[in-house]
Point group: C2
Chain length 513, copies 2
């Protein structure tokens, strides 16, 4: 039939499958600029749904959006030593402010700047400067700001949505009177992300703290959420940082307490990016393409008009639009159901049309042709079920069950993910070695002493990293004593599985992106 | 009382007044980067309302959002000769991809790029490259894409919201099968902008075409909307360009027609920016600060709790929140009314609190204190009326009249603006000279032969520019023969008011930003 399906199967080459799905589902496209992608309407629609939902959660917590400059003076980077070290090797630097033709007529940079500007990799230093002017009294605290923007990190190896040179993201920045409040806020924001991922994207995560070695440059603590992809690799989906007074000291952000004392504020920052779209693809997709969870699908329902004879066209189109109107009056997750009526395809394009929606992962497909109209039945397919499985139902049945179908699909996706997600607890070095020698081995829980040397050795010998020190995770081993986990959140006396030394903490270990 | 009001009056120094309003209303802030502003939450909230409304209008017309890279390879600029010429002198150029410490420990750019990258001043060339890959058949047309993003133009003289180095904007890009359809689309988008400005921002504009001299670099025709600020100066608020085949030839965007022929597509592009926030300030603001039209106000109503005795606090706060809940159930322009309850202020901060909301321009202020509660009356102020004029009304009266009050405020703002807006028709050089010798002289209609030389001479001698060749504007002179305007849209045989030559067109002439 000449229909282009996703050629690679997940188990054959997960990475190729991923790239193909992105192309076939029209989520993104390569651009002529190294490492920068073009987000196509289908991908942008998903990102916009994510933005909208998160933005409402942020506002509900009292955050307000602002916008800070794209450029940061080079000198700003020098304010926080760890910070500049963390970003120095991946900064795009603007050095000129015009272009001019050289003697051969080729365009070259001209008008050198007095001070070069760094294209922001993140905005802590710029926000800090503003906070130092906006905050003077305890009455100005907490200050809760968020920004939706683009940032640039010059990555050497890029992959669409997961690691790109330009990144679309959200960065929250807050200032608090006490360290306790700031730390609590950083944790609350991670909780906000995890609730969103669970409720809207059907993605379960392990939340926890990064080891010292993996902290954000300049942070006191970095909280992270890690999700397990279908190939067994972990993906860091978002982070929240307790910055303590590192940035407030660098930018001199002080406030007068109620008692009239001058003190430094305690700051946090937290962000998620279009990487969440990549996580969605790798978490839910199947060999037929992308599967978009209903909670973030730009279109939750697509109606395909099937016209075999020209004289039926008007009738069928009318029926499709009437159906769409009825569907748009339904509610799912507190909003009107989003429905799209496709255009009538020519005969030879019909297969492409059908499979196009499958590849794009639209939750519900409804086919409406003359036969369906005559029989008073619609043909309904749900993306998480086999494609060949289409249910015949009356319009009334459909309208009655549609929101439930969407919720059920969400639940199915979440349950599937959750099954893979739960880590095993391993208690010996031998088990660890044999586990990670398997192809596609998933993450595990184990006691590890987290030092840069030990983490490097794990990376070199097993190709794994310590993903996080989890806050709350129950291993799948039935015999695991849950008391051990409770204990690990405090100072752990357990032996390191890798070195046998004292001081192991129960951590999540796995291969990662 | 120590309250900081806007110090400068509009008639004393409009430009200083403008800057002060931006500071006092907390709309934006200067940043340490030359020409880049920080958009503060109050300003961002207005821009976000504008975005949301326009985005819905674009979608309704079939546009879908996408995202193209921030960087454009230098070589892309060379594809369209006029285009590169138009932007060459104002481009930020990235030449390095990391920073490193020099021998003195100071950070300097390192890792030179093989090909420098221009930070996009606009995305025609990048979008063109993608369109050339996405479009192959007439079935792919029209292709209607929009992008919300930041662009950079290295302006020498900047002014907050009006002309900044980094600009937040929207750029639409479309491709069509015929020139007629593309031209119609470019005009439709200008109409979409003008409806939005009228319905939501209470801004009347003159729509028309730019003269050849003022066209977008690479356009066949540039359509513009011009708004008259309170100081008599015109502001170009947005433009829409018919690009013909200039960019499709440069990027080789072709399609196969139904008949199997290979043809170039015809493209358009159109954009509006945060400049609209500047237009709003200069169009509606008064000597007490900003006035935000209800259609784009992030908060349309603010409730101020007035607590004189600590024992009344709970009662008053409860009453405020109950009132807010009732107000949030009301509808204005098809959406729930947006209401904010302010926090209880300490006695000495109460004046600042009240005047803060006045300066920010919130449409409706409601004061609730013990006295009001005892009397069963609320004290209500509307921002377009004198601040001293507060109406006492019952809660029922308020809830009944609130949406009407918002609509009435919108109408008052629009009518005020419309009164100033209508141009005079001038028919002699003497009239023109004496008109523009007046301080704050507003725009006029006159017949002018639009050549670069004549436009330059007008600029040099009178400090005015041809704002546009208007599509449809009625001068305020009662005796004006409307037939003359109809005629001018075609080839005009009228004499130029400035040179006496034949070939004058009826144009809008004025001082501009």
């Amino acid at each position: 039939m000449g229909i282009i399906l996703v050629k690679t199967k997940r188990e054959d080459n997960f990475s190729d499958w991923y790239q193909e799905v992105i192309q076939e589902a029209e989520l993104a496209d390569h651009s002529p600029v190294r490492g920068c992608m073009i987000v196509r309407p289908c991908g942008m629609g998903i990102w916009e749904r994510m933005k909208q939902d998160l933005d409402a959660r942020f506002r509900h917590l009292g955050h307000r959006n602002a916008y800070f400059p794209l450029f940061i003076p080079l000198s700003f980077f020098e304010k926080e030593a760890e910070h500049v070290e963390g970003f120095a090797t991946e900064c795009a630097v603007v050095t000129h402010h015009r272009i001019a033709a050289d003697e051969n007529g080729a365009f070259v940079p001209a008008g050198p700047l007095e001070e070069p500007l760094v294209v922001r990799p993140t905005s802590e230093t710029m926000v800090g400067e503003a906070f130092s002017r906006w905050i003077s009294s305890y009455r100005d605290l907490p200050l809760l700001i968020n920004q939706w923007s683009n940032v640039v990190r010059w990555e050497m190896r890029t992959r669409m949505f997961l690691r790109t040179t330009e990144i679309l993201w959200q960065e929250g920045h807050t200032a608090h009177a006490t360290a306790e409040e700031a730390d609590q806020h950083a944790r609350t924001m991670l909780d906000t992300y995890t609730s969103f991922l669970k409720e809207r994207v059907a993605i379960p995560v392990v939340a926890g703290e990064k080891t010292e070695h993996e902290r954000f440059p300049g942070a006191v603590a970095t909280y992270t959420m890690e999700a397990l992809m279908q190939d067994g690799k972990a993906l860091q989906v978002g982070t929240s940082h307790m910055l303590g007074t590192h940035f407030s000291k660098a930018s001199k952000i002080t406030f007068q307490t109620k008692e009239g004392k001058e003190e430094y504020v305690h700051t946090t920052s937290w962000g998620v990016t279009t990487r969440m779209v990549g996580a969605m693809i790798m978490m839910h997709g199947d060999d037929e393409g992308c599967i978009v969870p209903p909670g973030i699908a730009p279109d939750q329902v697509v109606i395909l008009p099937l016209v075999h004879r020209a004289e039926d066209r008007d009738l069928i189109e009318q029926a499709c639009h009437a159906l769409a109107q009825d569907i748009a009056e339904l509610q799912y997750q507190g909003e009107a159901v989003r429905v799209h009526v496709d255009r009538v395809a020519e005969r030879r394009a019909r297969g492409d049309q059908f499979w196009g929606w499958v590849k794009k992962g639209i939750p519900i497909r409804i086919e409406v042709g003359k036969r369906e109209l005559d029989a008073g039945l619609l043909s309904v397919g749900r993306r998480d079920l086999p494609t060949s499985q289409r249910e015949q139902m009356s319009k009334e049945e459909l309208l009655h069950s549609l929101p439930l179908q969407l919720q059920e699909m969400h639940n199915v996706l979440y349950e599937r993910a959750l099954k893979r997600h739960q880590p095993q607890y391993l208690s010996s070095k031998e088990d660890l070695l044999s586990h990670f020698r398997q192809e596609g081995a998933s993450w595990v829980l184990a006691y590890v002493r987290c030092t840069p040397e030990i983490e490097r050795s794990l990376q070199e010998e097993l190709g794994v990293t310590v993903r996080c020190i989890p806050w709350n995770v129950i291993p799948r081993n039935a015999n695991f004593d849950h008391g051990q986990i409770e204990e690990c959140a405090c100072a752990c006396a357990s032996a390191c599985i890798w070195t046998g030394e004292k001081g192991g903490a129960l951590v999540l270990v796995g291969k990662g992106y």
